[in-house]
Subunit: 130 residues, 2 copies
């Protein structure tokens, strides 16, 4: 059994900081669960284009408000606590936070912990980070 505390993990290299967001990786590929699990904070009044070409991701809003735009269709979905979105088509999307959003994220395949977002908004496939 693995037990981890978000607040303690934020003091370690499990916390990855980027421009307008940060992510704390509570489970990574090395934990051998078959998925990774992250708590991600999208900072207030920021907007980000992401495109996980090599991963499936689900995101559950724990707190905060904003929106997700499906960049293939232009459809905008509000985000508030209790909303989950899942990028089952590797959907390119724009995530916008009106207030700081705290999101519980699952990735398949699991993130290794070495990824950064590339210029195209994707994470590298496992083969490029292993």
């Amino acid at each position: 059994m693995i037990v981890r505390d978000l607040h303690a993990a934020r003091e370690t290299d499990r916390l990855v900081k980027s421009d307008g967001w940060d992510s704390t990786r509570l489970l990574l590929a090395g934990d051998d669960m078959g998925f990774s699990f992250h708590i991600t904070r999208i900072h207030e009044n920021t907007s980000h284009v992401f495109h996980y070409k090599h991963h499936f991701e689900s995101v559950y809003c724990v707190s905060g408000e904003g929106s997700i735009e499906d960049l293939a269709t232009g459809t905008v979905h509000p985000i508030r606590p209790g909303i989950m979105y899942a990028l089952d088509q590797h959907d390119r999307h724009r995530l916008t936070a009106k207030s700081e959003m705290v999101m519980a994220c699952c990735f398949n395949p699991p993130v290794t912990g070495k990824e950064v977002h590339r210029k195209d908004g994707s994470y590298a496939p496992v083969t490029e980070t292993a």
Copy 2:
């Protein structure tokens, strides 16, 4: 892109009620994400023995307080918002809620939606529910 709302899903058969807990399945095997994602509420002042012999599960505490006991070792870990546990050894465990706990749960392999907890605390393997 899949977008689902916990509050709406609780009015559908995505909500499964059991004795002392309920679980709303926001993602199931049929969504083809490779994992399932559930928001589970453990009711106040209840205690439950679970043993997912056929699944890996991670659980993140969104709200509420309680504890998890590893029944192989007797070790008790407190649960509060920000604590995540992962049953990487298919650990048999006792989950106890002092106050209602809201938990974000990921399962691999994904739950099909047809499982119930069996007398031994497990979910049936996929081959028995498909």
